[in-house]
Symmetry: C2
Subunit: 519 residues, 2 copies
């Protein structure tokens, strides 16, 4: 009963139950190997039955936890990180599920499959195969809690958008309550739930959407808890229910290579939980996930201690922090981890202060974040849209998206290991790789000229550079004629040997890109 | 052999060796009780002889470590935190020092003695008796490594200056090497030291100066290690020597109520040590100091993890962080501890970028830090002074000092628990206590008017406020006629019921102080 789920997805985009055992099953690297067996249906199979398996290849082993998928079916999923022959054997407190074993072959990844995303070079990200991952996220809290038509429309929009990550809630929000198709537990809405019994249909639907995101090259930053569903009560369960839910979710979804775990949105606004609960839940995720997918927690006004070892990167809400790169880079310095400003206010036109950025305002924040060596998140909320992108997905209306596609291109053309602030605490507008690559962003300033001047780190006399002027809003890249050649100016800076300057158009939102071309 | 060291200091400003036993000795609360005995002089008394004592009053006990003070004298110091009768008994591996006991009476503190400074209200400080302590520090790294005349001049300057904390190095710097009077260890300069044998004269001199600071109401932020004395080698000792030195220093100085422990200046520039060394040294201090004096570490470019439990407050070098309050408050949010920007560049005129602030530049940084709910440190370095204040103390020449005295007055007239940002991440210029007290700082902006408008937190319609206009540079406080009365404006703000505005002079460095006066 084994099959490559990845290939299966490509065929049907639907997850189904039983698959047939085949001793020579081939799974792609970072794809999903899945096995299932019929087991007991009496009692509560979610809580009474244990099922784990040891997957091994030579000295590499992973302990993987299975899950009950309803109708007597017990299922195990595994994401192989190595090609070659793998073997597994199951362990269960029920004889029919214990000691089941098998082998399968893992082949190379298919085109576009670079594996899961991990932290790279302290402040950045990369796929497991080494391909750079330049985070450019959006947020649609409840896009998987809508009609099929709207969910398909969201996927269609994402297919044409620049985003490579989406933040999305597992649990439904309070609104719109009438259309809520699936609930995570058995029971009756709004709050009569048996939290010991999961609703497999809810999770199959989520998995289907996560798989579709994967096939679009988009990371699913799954928000495990949020404070926006008080009607349903999923943010105020007891600790045992929280832990059981988290373990079940991880057992089902960890094999999807594009999953990230976001413990909560605005965690501090979930008044029923204390910080020790989040510490514990982080560790439940950490110890349940065999693959170490990225883990973070998103704040309201109180910042979680992101230095703790179970946090892989900081997920920050602070719109003011990306109003200038010096602010943003403080978080980086303090955490020594990647910093993603997942919420910096949204493009929109509502009366709330958090939803009235212009397109220019939001794109400015992305560029400031980039210059700080961090990453920034998008969303939008317009009054003309009763179910805005932020809540329900659908169509994008804002002015920022095109410019963010342009920004993504700039990032992808840049250094593979990302860029970092240069001359930190002295120069708030320059990032890059010393001696090799510089990106200078002027924000709302409107200079007419920039004297070619670079901080000394990585430079010597006689290095030559090509310069381009970038209009980040109008999305143009204009090469500057000739090359600039470094000459030491003083104890701190190099300048052009002929003291040349770069002419700028006197408009806001301009940047300069400088690439080493000689010596 | 007991006496109140505090009174002794008042008499002579010098610490001497043996004192006579007196069974009815009286010590003031947070003063120093001292006892000494003759002990062995053979072998190495610094390392061969152990001496501790248990001090007790009812259920309160403290384990205190003594130290060898040379010439056969073993000494114990204790800072009593409670008034009333105390008893002590010694423990030693030498019979003549073991089981020595005695009693003494602790009376009320003398005028100006408020006890040691501790963290208060998460982000602020207070003395042990509850008196607010509004940190306003300066730095003279090596003022205790100069001639007696210059050191006395420094004390004279400090007596007339606004500073209530001074950062100072225990170990000497490389320069000026010729005048170095005392070294901490037996041996020969520059590097032939026996780190198992301390030089009591070195420490007695340091103690004398720390005691004089105490009598001036100034906290001594003792810098235990620094990277500026490579010639002497005290930053590259082995771990056993480091630990022994730290324990000896703490044994001698912890009883001084005005001591703070700064593990290092620019810790990351001491290349011989790793972060694990600092973790360990922090814990050596923490476990050696019976009183829990404040503990911090000052960074170069790499920020130490100030969330760790042995760090009582963040001691930050980052001049750019106090160029606007939003930057500064990020550290506060992240650490949930007091943040002291101990180095924000210095007032001066040298070619180095860190020593060329104008007086206005430095005072601006202090005010920005204040609005962020943090604290800022001063120093100065002028070319006309061969031994500048930053290195050797002496006289102050800068323009900032007077304005910092004015700032200290503003702080002391403000709320006892300190002020905090109001409407964080939305309003970068307002701090205070919601509904009660507001301080609005305009920095380099030059508004001619400020429409009376306050964030809703703590406000209702009909509250009345008195308003003053403060010129932080020219040091004037100008009351605005009449009162301002709150009326709800919109979902976020209150304004004056008659929509009154406050007239401003269109100069930089202005502030507005708003105090609740009615309803």
């Amino acid at each position: 009963m084994l099959r490559s789920l990845t290939r299966f997805f490509i065929l049907t985009l639907l997850l189904v139950g039983h698959v047939v055992v085949a001793s020579e099953t081939t799974v792609e690297r970072w794809g999903i190997f899945e096995a299932s067996w019929q087991g007991p249906t009496n009692g509560n199979p979610f809580t009474d039955v244990t099922l784990t398996a040891t997957f091994s290849q030579n000295n590499t082993t992973h302990e993987v936890t299975g899950f009950y998928d309803g109708e007597g079916v017990f299922r195990l999923r595994f994401m192989p990180e190595l090609t070659g022959d793998w073997h597994y054997v199951t362990h269960s407190n029920r004889p029919e599920l214990d000691g089941q074993s098998g082998s399968f072959v893992v082949g190379p990844p298919s085109a576009g499959n670079h594996g899961p995303v991990h932290v790279h070079a302290m402040f950045h990200f990369a796929y497991a195969d080494g391909t750079p991952y330049f985070e450019l996220g959006t947020t649609c809290y409840s896009w998987t809690h809508r009609s099929d038509a709207q969910e398909e429309e969201t996927l269609h929009t994402l297919a044409g958008a620049p985003f490579n990550k989406i933040r999305m809630c597992v649990f439904p929000q309070d609104h719109p309550e009438k259309n809520q198709r699936f609930f995570p537990f058995e029971g009756k809405p709004p709050r009569d739930w048996d939290t010991t019994r999961f609703n497999p249909a809810f999770f199959r639907h989520l998995e289907k959407r996560v798989g579709q995101l994967r096939d679009l090259g988009i990371q699913a930053d799954l928000i495990l808890f949020h404070p926006y569903g008080k009607k349903w009560g999923f943010s105020s369960m007891d600790a045992a229910s929280d832990d059981r839910y988290v373990r079940y979710l991880v057992a089902r979804l960890a094999a999807y290579r594009n999953v990230w775990w976001s413990l909560a949105n605005e965690y501090d606004f979930i008044r029923e939980k204390h910080e020790s609960d989040w510490d514990r839940l982080f560790q439940v995720v950490q110890h349940s996930d065999p693959y170490g997918h990225l883990r973070s927690i998103h704040n309201g006004t109180l910042i979680y201690n992101n230095t703790l070892p179970w946090v892989t990167h900081a997920s920050i809400q602070n719109g003011a922090a990306v109003l200038d790169p010096e602010r943003a880079m403080i978080y980086r310095d303090v955490y020594r981890k990647p910093v993603v400003f997942d919420e910096v206010k949204y493009e929109g036109d509502i009366v709330k202060r958090w939803g009235q950025l212009s397109g220019e305002d939001l794109v400015l924040r992305f560029w400031n974040g980039l210059i700080a060596g961090c990453y920034v998140g998008h969303s939008e909320i317009f009054r003309a849209t009763p179910d805005p992108w932020l809540a329900g997905g659908g169509k994008l209306r804002g002015q920022s998206v095109l410019r963010l596609a342009f920004l993504r291109k700039i990032m992808e053309e840049g250094p593979a290991d990302g860029i970092n602030p240069i001359d930190k605490w002295q120069d708030e507008r320059t990032a890059g790789v010393p001696g090799e690559y510089y990106l200078i962003y002027f924000g709302r300033k409107t200079p007419k000229s920039w004297p070619f001047r670079l901080y000394k780190e990585g430079l010597k006399d006689g290095f030559s550079f090509q310069v381009e002027v970038i209009d980040t809003w109008n999305m143009t890249i204009t090469p500057v004629d000739g090359v600039f050649t470094t000459k030491k100016r003083d104890a701190y800076y190099f300048e052009d040997a002929e003291k040349k300057a770069v002419t700028l158009p006197g408009r806001p939102y301009m940047a300069i890109r400088i690439k080493r071309v000689g010596k």
